[in-house]
């Protein structure tokens, strides 16, 4: 038995860790890289959507609402597209189901609220969120494709007073 053996051991452990890089991520200032298909918020791009509502049918929670009406040429006009983010469990099944990748994962994950009803996003909210995403990411969709700037028709954008 040598006196202070344990203390030396402990000090060695501390000294070893002094040389290692810091693991703590200083969150608000510094963010970790999120993998491209991580379960973050959904982003819906109106210019890619055809209104087929495959996403709504694949949603296990039933938190997506799609309301369409046929146009003259047979395509669909999306009247309402709403996602209830209170219910959404971010499983990403809608993004797998969507044939046109109009709904994708990769949005913000810090949308905390004091009123839960603000988590219900209607079409205008979702278009605003998608535009925000594209503005921040140099007009590249989460799947890596390049977006054509100003694809959203001005009438689809929310009118600011």
């Amino acid at each position: 038995m040598v006196f202070g053996k344990g203390m030396a051991k402990g000090l060695m452990t501390v000294l070893k860790h002094v040389r290692k890089p810091v693991v703590t991520v200083q969150f608000p200032e510094e963010e970790r890289n999120i993998p491209p298909r991580a379960r973050t918020n959904l982003v819906w791009f109106v210019e890619r959507c055809t209104g087929c509502s495959t996403c709504a049918q694949s949603c296990p929670d039933g938190c997506i609402l799609v309301d369409t009406e046929p146009r003259e040429d047979g395509s669909f006009l999306v009247n309402r597209y709403e996602i209830d983010f209170r219910l959404c469990m971010y499983c990403g099944l809608c993004t797998e189901a969507c044939p046109y990748e109009a709904i994708q994962v990769g949005g913000s994950y810090t949308n905390v609220v004091t009123n839960p009803n603000h988590l219900y996003k209607d079409k205008e909210d979702l278009i605003e969120l998608a535009n925000e995403y594209l503005d921040q990411h140099d007009w590249v969709y989460p799947n890596g494709q390049k977006a054509v700037q100003q694809t959203v028709h001005p009438s689809e954008r929310r009118q600011h007073h």
Binding site: V23, T24, V25, F27, P60, R86, C88, Y90, V113
Partner: protein, 235 residues
């Protein structure tokens, strides 16, 4: 079922408003609002959560407390095992009806000032079990919630963002006229639980006017029944 708004228990609890309740001459000499700001700073910088996890969100909560995300940077590192020492309840996970009375009781046992973060879709509105028979559709039916964190489960960053929003909320409420009385949740179980359901009876006894099923008054802070005087003499 209609609940009375505030249970005064005979004596009303006075709330001093430094703007209206003080004489005009004294107002310029008072430091109440400044002291209150310091209180707010102290309270938001040392939010101690209750050690309380219900489902998978608790795993993310533990990850948030670990070294990589380090909840200690916000002064919220000490997860207290006793609700008496906690300021913050993070409802992390699915709240089943069976678990609802304990959640309410833990909330009642926490000392003022106290705050509640609802973490994850399940405690926000029921999540994937929202239409189920066994799950509470939103923990705000049982306790008043300050901040809702969406996600299933939320990333640790989301919980940190929720904590920062709560710190803002605390700052704001201390900057304007001090702390308000915490609102009671709208615990209307009449549509969700049938009459005579034991869990409904237990939950109702934990809301004002804090009467147990046989009409005995409960302690309004702990939900405990009064000590029976004949208990020891009859043995």
């Amino acid at each position: 079922m209609v609940f009375p708004t505030i249970d005064t228990g005979g004596a009303p609890i006075p709330l001093l408003d430094p703007v209206t309740d003080v004489e005009e001459e004294l107002r310029s000499q008072l430091l109440v609002s400044t002291v209150d700001k310091v209180f707010g700073w102290a309270r938001r910088s040392s939010l101690w959560p209750a050690m309380f996890g219900l489902a998978c969100c608790a795993i993310e909560m533990i990850a948030t407390a670990n070294a990589r995300y380090d909840l200690a940077r916000f002064g919220a590192e000490v997860f207290r095992a006793s609700p008496r020492q906690a300021d913050l309840m993070i409802v992390a996970g699915t709240v089943t009806w069976k678990m609802a009375p304990p959640v309410r009781r833990i909330y009642l046992q926490m000392a003022e000032p106290k705050w509640v973060i609802s973490m994850g879709s399940c405690s926000n509105i029921g999540g994937p079990f929202a239409h189920g028979y066994s799950t509470l559709p939103g923990v705000n039916n049982v306790v008043p919630v300050d901040v809702y964190v969406p996600g299933c489960p939320p990333r640790p960053e989301s919980l940190l963002a929720g904590l920062m929003l709560l710190q803002q909320v605390i700052d704001d409420e201390h900057a304007h006229n001090g702390r308000k009385r915490r609102p009671e949740p709208t615990g209307d179980f009449s549509k969700m639980l049938p009459e005579g359901d034991p869990i409904r009876a237990e939950l109702e006894s934990l809301f004002p006017p804090f009467l147990s099923a046989d009409g005995q008054p409960r302690d309004r802070f702990t939900g405990a029944l009064p000590h029976d005087q004949n208990f020891y003499s009859s043995r």
